[in-house]
């Protein structure tokens, strides 16, 4: 049995639900032994294991320490979801002053001990494998677990939502409905869920980190603005789901 730890930082537990979904498969349960998973097991001590799944981004000093310790206990670490990989929705607060942010939510902000930044997992420890998504696609996790148990990994495919959209036989909604869609710059994996329902992709799997330059982002954003999308909304979306890359491309138009 492969020993597994499942942990979370700042996040919504949506990805962890998918971990639970994966564990409903009997062939997977037969091969993996989860020894730490605070949402499910009554164990609060981390022990040595082969694998660790981590959800969420780092927003406190404590989390950073926790993560480093976790990393030292395992051979192979998998980052789950947009928070862990790109920052996640909590990155929205990065636009404001941290003290103001605290004040708007908590009556006694001085008790809130958080970092002024939001750190993706790979900015603190080495990540061996990433499963993107918000939340991740449970079937991608199932596939990973089956392949890992066979000794291998899923063959990496780097494409965007458009690939899945076309393979699903969906007429492009930018082209046919003049509806905004972030598909061309968003990492694939969701199966083109939104375009399937006639709605634009809003980038929840995160910006693709390959092939992207400022010119290209701008070209798409220009196109979307042409389709009458509010620039402020676009900016918020990119911050929320792709903070890590967006901050690098900051000089882009929005």
């Amino acid at each position: 049995m492969i020993r597994v730890l499942v942990a979370k930082l700042t996040s919504c537990s949506g990805c962890l639900n998918e971990v639970i979904y994966a564990l409903t498969h009997s062939d997977i349960r037969a091969k993996y032994n989860v020894t730490y998973f605070t949402e499910v097991l009554n164990v609060d001590k981390i022990s040595n294991a082969e694998l660790a799944f981590i959800e969420g981004s780092i927003t406190t000093k404590h989390q950073e320490e926790f993560l480093k310790n976790l990393r030292s206990q395992v051979e192979f670490l998998i980052a789950l979801g947009t928070c862990a990989l790109m920052g996640g929705v909590q990155s929205l607060r990065l636009e404001g002053n941290i003290e103001d942010v605290k004040k708007t939510i908590y009556p006694e902000p001085r008790y809130i001990d958080i970092l002024s930044e939001v750190k993706p997992v790979d900015s603190v420890v080495k990540v061996d494998f990433a499963i993107p998504g918000c939340p991740i696609n449970g079937d991608a996790l199932v596939s990973f677990l089956r392949k890992y148990a066979l000794g291998g990994l899923p063959v990496a495919i780097y494409e965007t939502v458009c690939s899945e959209c076309k393979r699903k036989n969906i007429p492009c909604i930018i082209v046919t409905q003049k509806s905004p869609c972030l598909g061309p710059i968003t990492i694939s994996g969701c199966g083109a869920l939104c375009p399937q329902f006639g709605r634009g992709c809003y980038g929840c799997y995160g910006l693709k980190f390959f092939d992207i330059t400022r010119e290209k982002i701008n070209a798409l954003l220009d196109r979307l603005v042409e389709l009458k999308v509010d620039e402020g909304n676009l900016k918020a979306i990119l911050l929320a789901y792709s903070f890590k890359l967006y901050s690098k491309l900051k000089e882009s138009r929005c």
Binding site: R146, K147, L150, G151, G152, L153, P154, V155
Partner: protein, 281 residues
Amino acid sequence: MTLTKLENPFTFKRALVVNVVKEAPDTNTYIIKLNETYTANPGQFNMIYVYGLGEIPISLSNLPEHRGTYTLVNHTIRIVGAVTRAVMLHVGAGSQVGVRGPYGNGWPMREIEGRDIVIVAGGIGMAPLRPVIKYIENNRERYGRVNILYGARNPELLLYKYELNKYTVIPNTKLLLSSDIPAEGWLHYVGFVTDLINYVDVDLKNAIALVCGPEIMMKVAIKNLLKKGFKNEDIFISMERRMRCGIGVCGTCQFGHYFICKDGPVFRYSDIEEYFWVEGI
């Protein structure tokens, strides 16, 4: 059209791994038993399938050995990614794998008869050239002088260390080894294997070169060979691209207008010169 009867070319032969030889920290040679009389030219490759994970193109790293009803083939595999990882971790003596092939053209063993031969191999690039050496050894009278230039990043990464010295016993054969970096006990050349081209001892008017290694090493090799006086049409290189099918249908191995899997992997340099220096073509 009788084509409806086309047999599925993606079906593979089931094969048993009978032995594993450790070559380097990240590389093993797998000796695989095929229950048939299987033949292949030096430089050809098989698609090796690992259950649930995928197929990878791997050169035959020795001449197929016929043993009555079955054949033993060698594949030297370096761990790099999704599928090779599983080969390293999970495939051992007694394991099964799927094998389809042989594919590709292989080295022009017929055409180069009577010529002096310079073999230039870098790292894992020795794998497809090893059968060439064995083939020449078995048919020594058909070929001229042979110079084997082989290098790796460090001595530990050289493959077939247990038999390299035996190559020098083949009549009229010279072996030049290199390591990119100095290492304890290393008495051979320190530097790039391509530097060794300077020291080849062949009749340049009648010599051909066979080159395999990382693309950048092959680029330097070609420059040096040309400088040395080799003609474009006398240099052969084994090319690499992402490969998913091995049979010319998936389109992913294209290099200019060539499909590496079926038009190659071995190319005469003069045939690909127009593409070779264009980055990313």
